[in-house]
């Protein structure tokens, strides 16, 4: 095992190198460009035996990955914000075609107006395309999750997206353990799909499927997605055995006796730990739940994690206009049949890269403690007058 000081983008590159991706296609966009710059270098100098192509758009990047994956090769791309949105058509396509591509998305705000900073609306607006979605808290988790994502994606034949916050992770350097190639090989076997483009066994892909067959194909995707939760759980367990690190799909922190449970994802979870520790030191019973896997939505572990709480506070760095925080609405749907569902305080904060500081989170917790019930479905944090 090697330890390097890596920014989030390069943690991804190393994970892709260790995962032995065979085809990498990408188009530059801030703040994800660094991911493929290092990969381009690795492909050029032979550290990674892969073909790299700097294509003409993100739509083409994912289309190229789709072509490569369809031939039975491991494909990778990285993007952010408008780049991900421009891939939208191909995102759907890769799911329908059951291509287990891994994509790293640096969560960045969407225009108009232009903004390059952290915000989860880019990937969360792609929620219903059928990609697995992971959200990461630190650069080690980013690296480990990319490797796990290949394992899970290739088992369930669905593509996976690994998301990390713009700049807070993508451009922040941290010590990261990089497993040795043979260790990753032992964890991640070569990609060997049952069906792929091959002259030895000719197949055609993507043909017309009318009303008599399309629905069954959709049902299978849904079943595969639901099954992915268990596969992801197993993949993380095995990862933990081999590498000594776990990344639970839903991570709990000091929740056992907690009256107030805070729910967060991405780098906000890291900051929230500090707030939980500070309040615990004062004897307050508060805890944290981190959503690491968002699709498939891990209903059972989430319910288990929050069900003892008297109140839940959830912070969303995203918004579904006219509805509220996207993770909050998922949480509400998980809890709606719960006989003793605690009140859910849904906070929206940090859009467009606005800092979510320990003070921001502490205010959220204080508000949740003070109020009997949330005064509105959605509470916007720190809005200027």
């Amino acid at each position: 095992m090697t330890t390097k000081v890596l920014e989030g983008t390069h943690a991804i590159s190393w994970a892709v190198q260790r995962s032995r991706a065979a085809v990498i296609a990408a188009y530059p966009i801030t703040p994800s460009s660094g991911v493929v710059e290092l990969l381009a270098e690795m492909c050029a100098d032979g550290r990674l035996d892969a073909r790299f192509v700097a294509v003409e758009s993100e739509h083409s990047a994912l289309a190229t990955c789709a072509g490569a994956s369809q031939t039975g090769m491991r494909a990778f791309t990285a993007t952010s914000s408008h780049g991900l949105l421009y891939m939208h058509e191909m995102l759907h396509w890769c799911v329908g075609a059951r291509l287990p591509i891994v994509l790293a998305n640096v969560n960045r705000a969407v225009g108009s107006p232009w903004n390059i900073f952290a915000d989860q609306n880019d990937s969360l607006s792609q929620r219903d395309t059928g990609w697995l979605q992971y959200y990461c808290e630190d650069n080690q988790e980013v690296l480990d999750t990319i490797i796990q994502a290949y394992k899970v994606a290739e088992r369930v034949l669905l593509p996976a997206m690994v998301c990390l916050d713009a700049f807070f992770l993508s451009h922040t350097s941290e010590p990261v353990s990089i497993p040795e190639p043979h260790e990753v090989d032992a964890y991640l076997p070569p990609f060997a799909p049952d069906y792929f483009l091959s002259p030895d066994e000719p197949h055609a892909f993507g043909g017309l499927s009318a009303a008599d067959g399309y629905m069954e194909l959709r049902a299978r995707i849904d079943a595969a997605m639901r099954h992915a939760e268990q596969v992801a759980e197993e993949a993380d367990e095995e990862f933990g055995r081999l590498f000594g690190r776990r990344h639970p799909l839903v991570e709990t922190y000091k929740t056992d006796d907690a009256d107030i449970v805070l729910v967060a994802s991405g780098t906000v979870a890291g900051t929230a730990r500090e707030v939980i520790d500070a309040r615990r030191a004062r004897g307050e019973r508060v805890g944290l739940v981190k959503i690491h896997l968002f699709r498939p939505f891990p209903f059972t572990p989430i319910r288990r994690a929050v069900s003892g709480a008297k109140k839940i506070a959830i912070i969303d760095r995203n918004v579904s206009f006219g509805h509220g925080g996207i993770m909050a609405s998922e949480l509400r749907s998980a809890m709606c049949a719960h006989p003793l569902a605690p009140p859910i305080f849904s906070f929206i904060a940090g859009l467009g890269g606005r800092d979510i500081t320990p003070q921001t989170i502490d205010d959220v917790v204080a508000h949740t403690i003070q109020q009997e019930q949330p005064e509105a479905d959605t509470l916007w944090v720190g809005l200027k007058e």
């Binding site: 188009y27 530059p28 801030t30 460009s33 381009a40 003409e56 408008h82 421009y86």
Partner: protein, 289 residues
């Protein structure tokens, strides 16, 4: 209604200070645009300036015209929408080589053949500057960049040859190394009735090649006008365009002497023709008696 006024380049200069690297060619391009707009004389509120994404696409903000910093690659369709809705506006479009010939490349032939009256200025620096130095569609083969550590293995797009091949009616190339020449090319494009394309060799001081900077341009540029090039000869223009990347020709490559009517003009004409029909009688045929 369109008006012309006696204007000076300063009338088109906004209070925003450009955010470009010192020595960037785009400073010269914006100066040339101020001059061209002043020469044409349409007041700023009758000009819409549309751009895509990239360093060069910051440019509308530095003018007093209506500005629209749009989505990467989509400047042309957005400009077409503006021109269709408000045909009386003078519509200027700008962007970089990535915007025009990579991600937005599919729009260029259609803007050419549709012939909506737009002037498209591409600031071609052969690199992605805003995202810090990756290969662009006009990067020369062999160029080492952060996305091509050991040199590009692809041929570049030839923007001049592309648009000439698509059938463009006005095609020119300039450099900010010759500011007054560039200003008059942009002015000619603005005055041209129909889609006009001006490729500007606008050097990137930070990530560009040393041999493609302003000083080198000044030494290398060859003006087409004194060479006796016939601007009405498309094939002659294409022969010159074929030297893109080797020779730096400046001036008008091609100007259609008998331009077909613009899309806007055709629409007006059609409407007039339909206006003479007896609508009531025509529709009457579909009413059951």
């Amino acid at each position: 209604m369109t008006t012309t006024t006696v204007a000076t380049p300063n009338d088109y200069k906004s209070d925003l200070k450009p955010i470009w690297c010192p020595g960037c060619g785009d400073y010269g391009v914006v100066q040339a645009i101020y001059r061209a707009l002043a020469a044409v004389g349409r007041p700023p509120h009758e000009v819409a300036f549309v751009s895509g994404i990239g360093c060069s696409s910051r440019i509308p903000g530095y003018t007093t015209t209506y500005g629209f910093n749009t989505v990467h690659g989509r400047a042309l369709p957005i400009a077409q929408g503006i021109k269709l809705a408000r045909p009386e506006l003078l519509v200027l479009v700008a962007g970089g080589d990535g915007d025009g010939f990579s991600i937005g490349g599919g729009h260029v032939p259609h803007a050419v053949r549709r012939n909506i009256d737009l002037t498209y200025v591409v600031m071609d620096n052969q690199i992605y500057g805003l995202t810090k130095g990756q290969l662009s569609p006009t990067s020369p083969r062999g160029l080492k960049t952060v996305s091509s550590a050991y040199g590009s293995v692809e041929d570049p797009v030839n923007p001049l040859m592309y648009v000439l091949g698509y059938g463009a009616r006005f095609v020119a190339q300039g450099t900010p190394a010759d500011l007054s020449g560039l200003a008059s090319l942009i002015e000619a494009g603005l005055r041209y009735p129909g889609f006009a394309f001006i490729n500007v060799q606008s050097p990137c001081i930070t990530y560009g090649q040393p041999e493609a900077q302003l000083k080198a341009h000044k030494a290398a540029m060859k003006r087409l006008e004194p060479m006796g090039h016939d601007v009405t000869d498309r094939l002659a223009a294409m022969r010159l365009a074929a030297e893109y990347g080797e020779a730096l020709y400046t001036g008008v490559f091609y100007r259609d002497p008998n331009p077909s009517p613009t899309y806007d003009a055709e629409l007006v004409e059609r409407r007039r023709a339909f206006g003479t029909l007896d609508r009531a009688r025509a529709l009457d045929r579909f009413v059951p008696h």
